[in-house]
């Protein structure tokens, strides 16, 4: 059985699982304890198959055709290096999330677990479809099915108005983006009407139509990925969704947009313009900075993570943009380096962000709170979740020795080569861009410290937090799977890079696995050991060994005595949960430093208030600069069109009359 057939079968099995779930939606135990773990198993199979295909298949992609679709345009399927990589990502992350989901969905919260099961597996299968599609129509069908199923997942608790609003916004942005993608395919077929990807590859236009196709695709995929300024749905939809779904959306679905953009720019369009790359880079950096700055000032833990997703997507886009710039300047090796960084970051982000979203899910289940201002001290009650989340936090902050650092390291490395570009402005500006990336990474650290510190550390801010319980067995299993991924990806980068080699070879015609192989398997040295090298394994080993040694040495030389007492707190006597920093307080320095980024509304208490309160609302200024004017324009349009409807027959007759006359005059002039 070819890998393609196996993966296709897996997608069908997902569908079947979903249908089973919908059919037996009353059998709660069956749905959660059998179907979801089965889905996880299928996901693991997908990951393994795709990985094997990636490592073994070489240059020849597997293709197949399904007797479905439009006449003359049956569903074309194809498994090549790029799709195999993303399928691997999908399978690996979905396995963890499915395991977690088996323990997560409960009765009586939003839709029934049976329905969730259907939608969830439909979501998985359609993502698989997106990655396998080899013609525009199938791609679009899978793409929109993905949007639709995730929309219903997001709105599963639709009795809450906020969630309805989030779903609404999400689906609109997704659909308008999808129309953009569709038009991009239309433009790319170059007037031939051949919508298979093979056809597009041979017929793709050059010149302005190619650029138009690229821009449309950028808009479409950017909308799905959360690229500035199309990101607004993301911080709304991710918090609204049940946590496994947030994890899936953030971890995997956003990556399908990356996949689509890569497919279009590197595979389908024959020639890349350097300014595409510059545009992507600029947008990516702006998105990354914007995302991270906003993520630091959020008070809702899932919104914080959602903005952090925007940041990471920005970084990935920046990497792709840089790669495009290199590729357009015929520097394939460097393009491969930047692309590897971007793809690696996709993988990393998928793992650590899913992990964090799932952790918030457990917190949510245990406390019913998403608001950071009402959490705190959960490390005592939920040690499993807290320690596993800590791994996610460290990875997400881009700190060694976990995975987030590796991809950021690669990205920075690729930026260091930009002085070799033959563009005056670019090679002056790009080092600054590297600075922006460094700033983003550092701010991500801030956001993550805030997230972890406020949720898990300190004292509980509410009474009922004392009753919080740790994650269940299945949930833990899912969390451990993802956390293990974070560690392994960080420690063994060379394996990942070897697996990425066929992908970059396929997309930009170069890979540097051979160069990396010159070092030992422990050492990541993409160009040469002289140039730069890093080893997560040694790093982690060294750190752990030293810490342990230190611990025992200190114990041995001195003693291990310990007494518990009240906190010192500079002698301040009234220590309570309320004296800690709130989430808003922790974000205050950022609000101060980046004040121009925000739209801040403050309500200060006056000295005469009986019940003084302080309120601060930090808004996304893009709402006010872009979306509200847009909404106003549309409203204006509807009002103008509404004026057509006068309700008077004479006026309606007049319309007909004038139309007739105008046409007559126009025709006989």
């Amino acid at each position: 059985m070819s890998p393609l057939a196996l993966i296709l079968l897996a997608c069908l099995v997902w569908l079947a699982i979903g249908l089973l779930g919908a059919t037996f939606s009353r059998r709660f135990v069956f749905v959660t304890r059998v179907l979801f773990p089965a889905g996880a198993l299928v996901a693991a199979t997908v990951a393994l198959t795709a990985l094997l295909a990636l490592l073994t298949q070489g240059d020849t992609p597997h293709t197949a055709m399904l007797p479905l679709g439009l006449p003359g345009l049956p569903f074309h399927l194809r498994l090549d290096a790029l799709s195999a990589f993303f399928l691997c990502l999908l399978g690996a992350v979905a396995a963890g999330i499915s395991l977690y989901a088996a323990g997560y969905f409960r009765r009586g919260q939003g839709s029934t677990p049976g329905l969730q099961c259907l939608l969830y597996h439909l979501f998985l299968a359609s993502m698989g479809g997106v990655l396998l599609a080899d013609d525009a129509y199938f791609f679009m069908v899978a793409w929109e099915s993905m949007a639709l199923s995730s929309y219903f997942l997001v709105t599963s608790d639709h009795r809450i108005a906020e969630i309805r609003r989030a779903g609404f916004l999400y689906l609109i942005v997704a659909h308008v983006g999808a129309i953009g993608i569709l038009l991009s395919f239309g433009a790319m077929s170059g007037g031939t009407g051949d919508y298979t990807f093979d056809g597009i590859r041979t017929n793709a236009p050059e010149g302005w139509l190619a650029s138009a196709a690229f821009l449309l695709a950028l808009g479409g995929f950017g909308a799905k990925a959360g690229l500035l300024p199309l990101h607004v749905w993301l911080p709304e939809a991710h918090p609204a969704a049940p946590s496994p779904v947030s994890a899936m959306m953030s971890g995997v679905m956003l990556k399908t947009a990356i996949y689509g953009l890569l497919r279009v720019t590197f595979d389908l369009l024959p020639e890349q313009q350097w300014w595409w790359g510059a545009l992507l880079l600029g947008l990516g950096l702006a998105t990354a900075l914007f995302g991270v700055v906003f993520s630091t000032v959020q008070s809702d833990m899932k919104r914080l993570l959602a903005y952090s997703s925007i940041e990471n997507i920005g970084l990935i886009f920046a990497g792709i943009g840089l790669s495009l710039v290199f590729a357009a300047n015929s520097m394939p090796l460097l393009a491969a380096l930047a692309l590897t960084a971007a793809l690696y970051h996709c993988l990393n982000h998928a793992f650590f962000k899913s992990l964090l979203f799932l952790a918030t899910g457990s917190v949510l289940h245990a406390t019913g709170q998403r608001n950071l201002g009402r959490l705190g001290g959960l490390i005592h009650r939920m040690p499993w979740v807290a320690w596993l989340a800590l791994l996610g936090v460290v990875a997400s902050a881009g700190l060694p020795p976990l995975n987030g650092f590796v991809s950021e390291w690669l990205l920075l490395q690729s930026f260091l080569f930009t002085p070799q570009l033959p563009h005056g402005y670019l090679n002056m500006l790009l080092p600054v861009a590297a600075g922006a990336i460094a700033l983003t990474a550092a701010l991500a650290g801030f956001a993550m410290v805030k997230f972890f510190g406020v949720v898990f550390l300190g004292q509980p801010r509410e009474e009922h937090l004392a009753k919080a319980h740790d994650a269940g067995r299945m949930e833990r299993l899912g969390l451990i799977w993802l956390a293990a991924g974070c560690v392994l990806l960080g420690v063994l980068p060379n394996f990942v890079i070897a697996a990425l080699d066929p992908v970059t070879n396929f997309l930009v015609g170069a890979g540097f696995a051979p160069a990396a192989d010159k070092g030992s398997w422990l050492l990541l040295a993409p160009i040469s050991e002289e140039r730069a090298s890093y080893s997560g394994a040694i790093f982690l080993g060294g750190l752990l060994a030293f810490t342990l040694a230190l611990f025992f040495v200190v114990r041995a030389v001195f003693h291990g005595r310990l007494r518990r007492a009240d906190a010192w707190d500079c002698g301040f006597p009234l220590l309570s949960g309320r004296t800690q920093d709130t989430a808003e307080g922790f974000g205050q320095p950022i609000r101060q430093v980046f004040a121009p980024f925000f739209r801040i509304t403050r309500e200060h208490p006056s000295p005469f208030d009986k019940e003084p309160h302080y309120r601060i609302v930090v808004d996304d200024p893009l709402w006010h600069w872009l979306y509200l004017p847009l909404a106003w324009l549309v409203d204006l349009g509807t009002r103008v069109v509404g004026k057509l409807q006068r309700g008077r027959i004479a006026i309606y007759l007049l319309y007909s009359f004038v139309t007739l006359l105008a046409l007559l005059v126009f025709t006989t002039r």
């Binding site: 001290g377 080092p431 600075g435 550390l457 030389v557």
Partner: protein, 321 residues
């Protein structure tokens, strides 16, 4: 790699680590002595830091009721990070066993890792001062980190590598050239170091005034061996930064081999340079007053811009290669 080379590199590496561990408190003591002298005060004993550490190690740990396991793990982890960082900087020789495992960027990452953990530890007990210190520390961190990276980038672009050994090797030995960009980078680096080590214009290591402290606020709840480790880690950090400055901007004298002779010479150079560096630090601390916390972003922003400028100057004046 031959076994001999491996062994010598391992030995050099261990030597560096030991030197760092041993000399770090001394550097702190030296700075204090210098500062007292400059301020016409009676100086504390040079070896006082050692004494303090020993005293703390001997004491019991007094732990807040609310402290979690993270709080107890953090000091060890932070200390390891700083020790590794100090060991990674080529102070004596560029031929270090573990140098390939971490380059300049990883070094920055290592500092960041320590910072994240100390901030988390500060938030753990849930006191007002702890979280205040944590957020200020992170504020300084997110501004200082990119600036430091940009300084490294300048050096990396000059030497075509991010590996610290290669950078130092290039700057110290291979060719002699005057790099105007390094002047900018040097100033930026100095500013970053001051901020990162909690030195005077940004923080005051000797203060315990609640509203202005940063580093001290985070570690208020620590006591006994935990506190000792953290204090030691802080001095290691100062040491690592000093060595970095020396390696980047005054790299002459660093050995490129692992021969005992070369190492001895390098050791002498190192001690001399550190003494000068400590004095300069004390001078800066004496001449400046501590600024308000919210002036720090401006201070560090300037550092960041200077570092960026350094890169641009390099690309413009030095041909970009």
């Amino acid at each position: 790699m031959s076994l001999y080379a491996f062994a010598t590199q391992l030995l050099t590496q261990l030597l560096e680590l030991l030197i760092a561990l041993a000399l770090a408190p001394l550097l702190g003591g030296w700075v204090n002595v210098c500062r007292a002298r400059l301020q016409k005060r009676c100086p504390p004993p040079l070896l006082l830091p050692y004494h303090n550490l020993l005293k703390l190690f001997r004491k019991d740990v007094l732990l807040a009721h609310n402290a979690s396991s993270l709080f107890r793990v953090a000091p060890y982890l932070i200390f390891s990070c700083m020790a590794l960082a100090a060991a990674l900087v080529p102070t004596l020789s560029t031929e270090l066993l573990f140098a390939p495992a971490a380059d300049a960027i990883a070094l920055v990452g290592l500092f960041a890792l320590a910072r994240v953990f100390i901030a988390l530890a500060g938030m753990d007990v849930g006191t007002a001062f702890g979280s205040l210190g944590a957020r200020r520390e992170m504020l300084i961190g997110f501004l200082a980190e990119p600036a430091l990276l940009m300084v490294f980038f300048t050096a990396s672009i000059i030497s075509g590598s991010t590996s610290l050994a290669t950078i130092v090797g290039t700057l110290a030995h291979h060719e002699f050239a005057i790099y105007p960009s390094l002047a900018f980078a040097g100033v930026a680096f100095t500013m970053v170091s001051l901020a990162e080590n909690g030195r005077v214009p940004v923080d005051n290591p000797t203060t315990h005034l609640e509203l202005t402290m940063i580093h001290e606020a985070m570690i208020l709840e620590y006591s006994g061996r935990h506190l000792a480790l953290i204090e030691w880690a802080a001095s290691l950090k100062l040491f690592a930064y000093s060595c970095l400055g020396i390696a980047l901007f005054f790299p002459f004298g660093i050995a490129e081999s692992t021969g005992p002779g070369a190492l001895a010479v390098a050791g002498v150079f190192l001690v001399g340079k550190l003494a000068v560096g400590g004095f300069v630090l004390a001078l800066i601390e004496t001449l400046n007053a501590k600024m308000r916390v919210f002036r720090t972003p401006e201070f560090l922003g300037t550092a960041f811009l200077l570092a960026v400028l350094a890169i641009l100057v390099h690309l413009l004046l030095e041909g970009g290669r």
